[in-house]
């Protein structure tokens, strides 16, 4: 902070030196002219691209406006979101189970988990979706009973038991579990062996250790790739169009096959996917903060807290130079960010 004290009446040179010793370095910041040039070139380029798209006569803007909030599209968006969230939640539970099995001392469990990951990660998702969609061709009836006997508890037509929605959900969940299992396993392996030993030394059981000590710490490593997987999943739901699940892309293709406005409906769908991926990355940020507690000496402020601190700063401006210490902290943050 600047000192307002009068200069001491000694040799001016010496006083400058002393001042430099006592106070923060006040230097003219380094200029970066090329950043401005580069930014300007990019801005012109983007503007030209946007203008050409906007002015393209093959794109009918009123059609985009007409369908972006169409009830059928909105229903598709809801279904897409439901598919994404439900399959991510169930697959994560499955993934933890698979990872624990893989890391257990039980060789049968380990082999089973390995086999699962091998099968579901080794075949294309599209084929798995079609497979579950056409399960009725493989087994026309699904029955529950004792193997190799005639005793059955119930028996049901496959296409009634597993409608397209359930088949799609099944395909996405089972496939995702294989990928997530490896992420969870990596997270669990990242936890130091000393943590297990410390937990065992106070008499915790392996299960208690897993849930209270290992998984909470593994979460810090697991969440960023899982955020990635969630966004991947959101977009993979569009593959369910091959078995006619009415998610947003299927709905859009149905509409465009009637009005022949393919490009416009693709723009509508892309806008919705972009919107949904943006929304889905918010919980990731807060989950990372939650599970990162104890790892940083102090947590950085959330975006909301940042907004508030700026509001407070602006409110504090008229008070003049004798502002509170919080303000100077904000200033230093701003300098860091630039």
């Amino acid at each position: 902070m600047l000192s307002t004290s009068t200069p001491p009446d000694t040799n001016p040179r010496q006083s400058l030196a002393e001042e430099a010793d006592d106070h923060d370095v006040i230097a003219v910041p380094l200029r970066h002219p090329w950043r401005w040039v580069f930014a300007a070139v990019l801005a012109v380029g983007f503007a030209a691209m946007a203008a050409s798209l906007w002015a393209n006569e093959n794109v009918n803007h009123p059609t985009i406006n007409e369908f972006i909030l169409d009830p059928r599209i909105l229903d598709g968006v809801v279904l897409t979101l439901v598919l994404t969230i439900v399959s991510m939640v169930i697959s994560t539970v499955l993934a933890v189970l698979l990872a624990v099995m893989r890391l257990s001392n039980n060789p049968v469990m380990g082999a089973l988990s390995w086999l699962y990951v091998w099968v579901f990660r080794g075949t294309p998702l599209l084929i798995q979706i079609v497979f579950w969609g056409y399960l009725g061709l493989l087994y026309s009836q699904i029955s529950l009973g004792i193997p190799f006997t005639d005793f059955t508890v119930f028996s049901m037509d496959t296409n009634t038991l597993i409608p397209a929605f359930a088949a799609g959900l099944l395909a996405l969940t089972l496939n995702q579990a294989a990928y997530s299992a490896e992420i969870v396993r990596a997270g669990m392996l990242s936890v130091d062996e000393g943590q297990h030993e410390a937990a065992y030394s106070v008499g915790m059981s392996p299960t208690f250790t897993l849930f209270k000590v290992v998984l909470p710490q593994a979460m810090r490593v697991i969440i960023p790739p899982m955020g990635n997987e969630t966004i991947s999943m959101l977009k993979n739901t569009s593959l369910l169009s091959v078995i006619a699940v009415l998610e947003v892309y299927t709905v859009a293709t149905q509409i465009s096959s009637q009005n022949l406005r393919q490009v416009e409906l693709l723009v509508v769908v892309s806008c919705w996917y972009l919107f949904l991926t943006t929304i889905l990355s918010i919980p990731q940020y807060y989950l990372e903060r939650h599970f990162g507690r104890g790892n940083a000496r102090s947590l950085p402020p959330t975006p909301l807290e940042r907004v508030w601190s700026v509001v407070r700063r602006v409110g504090a401006l008229p008070r003049g130079p004798e502002a509170d210490p919080a303000e100077s902290q904000n200033q230093s943050e701003r300098t860091d960010a630039s």
Binding site: E197, A198, Y200, S201, V202, G203, P206, G294
Partner: protein, 275 residues
Amino acid sequence: MTNLLSDPRPGPSAPGAERAPGADPLLVARKVRKSFSGVEVLKGISLSVDAGEVMCLLGPSGSGKSTFLRCINHLERIDGGRISVDGELIGYAERRGKIYEMNRREVARQRRGIGMVFQRFNLFPHMTALENVTAAPIGVRKLARPGALTRGQELLDRVGLADLAQSYPAQLSGGQQQRVAIARSLAMDPKLLLFDEPTSALDPELVGDVLDVMRTLAADGMTMIVVTHEVGFARGAADKVVFMDAGVVVESGPPSRVLDNPQNPRTRAFLDSVM
């Protein structure tokens, strides 16, 4: 800091209890052997520790002292011999002349009575100091939360960390973390405390605080086995010093004999090198 221990426990393991002559020692190890991938690191360790006694294990690195310590709470399973604490075989059950391996739940139950303090502290980084201390009492012993929190705060007070109960391990210095770790192991009211080089990872100026807490514990009658390089601590606090080298006990006895008048040339060479 006085009386780090909670209420005195009944039975032969009660701290400072008057023991009848000839009472069974708290820890008995007989001919303990342990190999890692063909290399024998413990070649028949036999020793015993009475309740209320402090035993220091000294020796060059690689002599097997940490491995032996880890065998006592079954973090390592032994290949030969017997270890029993309070008359109970560790990690195995003896029925009708046969030895059965214990399942993990039974091992966990045994470990509740044996505290351990690690060289690298191994605090749970996602929990505050107080949560570290109370996690096992609440989750494993199923103590009521308010009582466990009060007792946890009390233990933190007594290791000199009353104000840091809500801090996370990353916010504490090494010495403070190690004292939280000691409080954590005390929270289970163990009858035996194991220390695995508790001050080796600390800056020199922080060692004193941790050793002070350990001396207080020793004075309060806690039974302790300490693997350490702090010869000064061993001289002041230990009832018995055991010098190990290459997987065998070379020399053991009171500190006045082993540390000040060592008989074995290997002991003498080691003490010369560390002092």
